[in-house]
């Protein structure tokens, strides 16, 4: 199995290497997105993620397939969390393995950039006195 595409409640960062490791891979690149304590100097209490799951999985599949067409990759992981996440908790993990490091670095960057552009997942920032749907308004 070359692709792992999942929407989960909790991300286990420890298992991603076992998923990406491969006898033909000299390089593995992984990106983890986590909750930051401050956004524009305002203290974040938590982020809450919701998704249109059936569509999100389809869009993530498309991104993984596009990456595998564009670069010579052995394995790809894309996993996003939903629900409420506190500071320092991982919310997304993407990664790729390849023979040489150029491909896995470029693919990993593509995976997270494209996920943020097209996958139907929405993030609400919870501050002490308000909540904001990120990117909703100009």
């Amino acid at each position: 199995m070359k692709k792992v595409i999942e929407i989960v409640d909790e991300i286990d960062t420890a298992k991603v290497y076992a998923e990406l490791s491969d006898a033909n891979s000299g390089g593995i690149c992984v990106f983890v997105g986590a909750v930051r304590e401050f956004t524009n100097n305002e203290e974040v209490v938590a982020l809450e993620f919701e998704t249109y799951k059936a569509m999100a999985l389809k869009e993530m599949e498309k991104i993984a397939d596009a990456a595998m067409q564009k670069w010579s990759l052995n394995k790809v992981v894309m996993r996003h969390a939903v629900g409420e996440k506190g500071v320092e908790e991982p919310v997304v993990i993407v990664g790729a393995s390849s023979a040489h490091r150029d491909a896995c670095f470029e693919a990993c960057r593509f995976l997270i950039d494209t996920l943020k552009e097209t996958v139907p997942i929405w993030k609400k920032e919870k501050f002490k006195n308000k909540t904001v749907w990120v990117s909703a308004h100009p």
């Binding site: 569509m55 996003h80 919310v91 997304v92 097209t118 997942i121 909703a136």
Partner: protein, 79 residues
């Protein structure tokens, strides 16, 4: 016609799913958007408003027959 709402659009309409069978009969995606913006003027203030038909992004000229799974996709913000 059944429509799913997510993120800020769910907050605006006050529900994650509404059946518009008596009100909306749009012939395509563009008309659906127009009718929804008329019902929910707040939609016009969003950064973008996309429509998914059967869980795929749909172009404005895609025809609708009312039996599709329709979802309103406000600006995504995963990651």
């Amino acid at each position: 016609m059944n429509v799913l709402f997510f993120g800020i659009t769910k907050d605006i309409v006050g529900s994650s799913e509404i059946n518009f069978s008596n009100e909306l009969k749009p012939v395509n995606v563009a008309e659906l958007k127009k009718q929804l913006i008329k019902s929910y003027p707040e939609f016009s203030k969003l950064n973008s408003l996309a429509v998914a038909v059967n869980s795929e992004y749909a172009d404005d000229d895609l025809p609708l027959n009312g039996n599709e799974e329709i979802a309103i996709i406000p600006p995504v913000s995963g990651g």
